[in-house]
């Protein structure tokens, strides 16, 4: 069993309630931070911990915090990103539903460190029942003196407010989120200025993911250096992975980032192997935006080394032969699945979620969806595959926000690794309507490893 820092107590009976959470050692980090540490010292600990943003981009959290501008007399804000809408990702939900006080605790310490007196949790609108869970936890924390005025007699005031979104993936992008929090459409802003200088209501703002902010609790409790000893290289601490698709045990797992992809998929502690005795075909290891990998490149890198569940190892080989840890949305495809169809549903998703500000993204996502549907329905031409490649390459890097890239990468990777499956949909159009392509030459690397 690996180390658990976030979910260790998640299954203690009644942990959602304040009494049980506190009895289990909750809110110790607030006492330690507010009573014994300066705000700079907290930022320093987070820097030392090596914690990287858990929302997808993996930017070092401590460094982000140190960028926040502190102009005289201008309030600053911390905003917690609970928009969680990247297909394959459902870890923040798990944390908020099961152990909401952990997030509130992390938010209080982080608000103190950043000087945020009004902190907002922006949660996707569909998680309506979780709003109640969070507001209840906030109410309990306040009733027990952890929020409100003059917390623990330190003179620090803080309120946490929960804001519900209303159905728009793009509002997970931090500047779109800020726009939405201001009561507008979720159109991402041009950067610079960055939110750390001009964010919510033009005030200095830090936006962090739920899991990032919850991780501040063990960092303060253990100290940044101890936290950094867990994991490997620049992948410090633990990471929540939400696993789904064709596996025996879909769910949310906390891993320390030293386990191999093979262990994660096949061990009973985690995914429990491929469902229905099927074989592994492919996997999207970090949420729908990251490149899909065929089984042989997933379990081993192109160099033939074991691939591990961490930032560096998953991206080993770049986009040519690697992928990304991303948001930790781990999507597994078995031998019966169709890569063209899967890619089509993702293209449809991105077309639906494009905010429409930039033409490469607005038009390109629509074209890609149409071409993929045509191929999936056996009405495509070989030249459509080249056209798809061309379109995705023209979206990438030419847009205001990274949604354009996020829409382009899955299409690029699918063609890069599964081109023969795309071609088969054209050359065997009729057959492709009756059955799926299957595993073909993507040997399940596991079968090749001698015991």
């Amino acid at each position: 069993m690996g180390v658990k820092l976030l979910l260790e107590k998640a299954h203690v009976e009644g942990i959602r309630s304040y009494e049980v959470y506190r009895r289990e050692g909750g809110y110790r980090s607030v006492e330690k931070a507010l009573k014994t540490m300066s705000t700079d010292a907290i930022v320093e600990e987070v820097k030392k911990s090596g914690l990287r943003g858990r929302g997808g981009a993996g930017f070092p959290a401590g460094m982000k915090w140190s960028f926040i501008a502190k102009p005289e007399g201008v309030p600053r804000h911390l905003v917690c990103n609970a928009d969680e809408s990247e297909p394959g990702t459902f870890k923040d939900r798990y944390l908020m539903e099961n152990i909401p006080h952990l997030l509130i605790e992390g938010l209080i310490v982080s608000s103190y460190a950043l000087g945020s007196h009004d902190t907002y949790i922006y949660i996707r609108g569909e998680y309506a029942w979780i709003v109640d869970i969070l507001e209840n936890a906030i109410g309990e924390a306040k009733a027990n003196g952890w929020l409100g005025k003059n917390i623990l007699g330190t003179g620090f005031d803080c309120e946490i407010h929960v804001q519900r979104g209303a159905g728009a993936y793009i509002c997970g992008e931090e500047t779109a989120l800020i726009e939405s929090l201001e009561g507008k459409r979720g159109n991402p802003r041009l950067k610079p200025p960055f939110p750390a200088i001009k964010g919510l209501w033009e005030r200095p703002t830090v936006v962090n993911n739920v899991e990032t902010l919850a991780s501040v609790v063990p960092i303060i409790n253990l100290g940044g250096e101890e936290y950094a000893k867990i994991g490997v290289g620049r992948s410090t601490g633990t990471k929540l992975i939400s696993a789904c698709g064709n596996i025996n045990k879909p769910g949310v797992y906390e891993i320390d980032m030293t386990i191999s992809v093979e262990e994660f998929i096949y061990s009973d502690e985690y995914c429990g192997g491929i469902a229905n005795g099927k074989r592994l075909k492919a996997c999207i290891p970090g949420g729908s935006s990251v490149p899909i990998l065929p089984a042989n490149l997933l379990l081993k890198t192109a160099k033939g080394e074991t691939r591990y569940m961490n930032y560096e190892s998953l991206s080993d080989g770049g986009f040519a032969t690697g992928s990304m840890l991303g948001s930790g949305g781990f999507i597994v495809l078995d031998e019966d699945q169709c890569v063209v169809k899967n890619t089509y549903t993702l293209a449809r998703f991105y077309r639906h979620e494009s905010c429409g500000q930039c033409s490469p993204c607005r038009e390109g996502t629509g074209w890609m969806e149409k071409l993929l549907l045509r191929l999936e329905n056996g009405q495509g031409k070989i030249s459509d595959i080249d056209l798809l490649w061309d379109i995705q390459s023209k979206i990438e890097g030419n847009t205001i926000c990274p949604l354009g890239d996020a829409a382009a990468w899955p299409v690029a990777a699918a063609i890069r690794h599964f081109r023969d499956e795309f071609e088969w949909h054209v050359t065997h159009a009729e057959e492709a309507q009756k059955r799926n392509f299957g595993l073909a030459h993507y040997a399940d690397a596991r079968q090749l490893v001698s015991a």
Binding site: P87, T89, R93, G183, R185, G186, I331, T345
Partner: protein
């Protein structure tokens, strides 16, 4: 005429109080949720104008937002709305079959409402329940690990509840 009752007005004020003075527009999304919930689960032009008036912003600022976000219903919907996720991870676990089954059972296509006004079927994109697929949202809650049998039971329950409420 649409108008919040006293209780709804108290909630409205609580929502607005979470933002600094003069930044009441920030309450727009939550207030639209409140309005939708209060006025028959959809937002008419009249409702949108009323929200603009309450928040002291221009009607266009409300229209812009109401049309951007997928959770706001701009036309009436059935008493029970089945919002079934169809994105990749759910598709891998058979969401297409569930959508087809519900459609056949209720004789409607995605986007349509049954003639008795009881059910609306809608396909939606990833709801953050990929590990519990196939799934759908029904009102405030999720129904997960759907099977045809479960769908049958849910529909029956809805019909029973509707009969009691009538």
């Amino acid at each position: 005429m649409v108008k919040f009752n006293d209780e709804q007005l108290i909630e409205f004020k609580r929502l607005v109080s979470r933002y600094p003075q003069g930044k009441q527009k920030s309450a727009l999304l939550p207030v639209l949720h409140l309005a939708q919930q209060s006025f028959g689960n959809w937002l008419s032009a009249e409702t949108l104008d009323y929200v603009a008036e309450l928040l002291e912003i221009k009607p266009i600022e409300v229209y812009e937002v109401a049309t951007f976000y997928s959770m706001y219903n701009l036309k009436p919907v059935g008493t029970y709305m089945f919002e079934v996720c169809q994105t990749g991870p759910c598709m891998l676990r058979g969401s297409d079959d569930i959508i087809k089954y519900i459609g056949e059972k209720l004789s409607i296509k995605p986007g349509e409402t049954t003639t008795d006004g009881l059910f609306t079927l809608k396909t939606v994109e990833c709801l953050g329940a990929c590990g519990y697929a196939p799934m759908m949202q029904m009102g405030k809650h999720y129904r997960e690990h759907l099977t045809k049998e479960k769908v049958d039971a849910i529909i029956e329950d809805c019909r029973k509840n509707a009969a009691i409420n009538n």
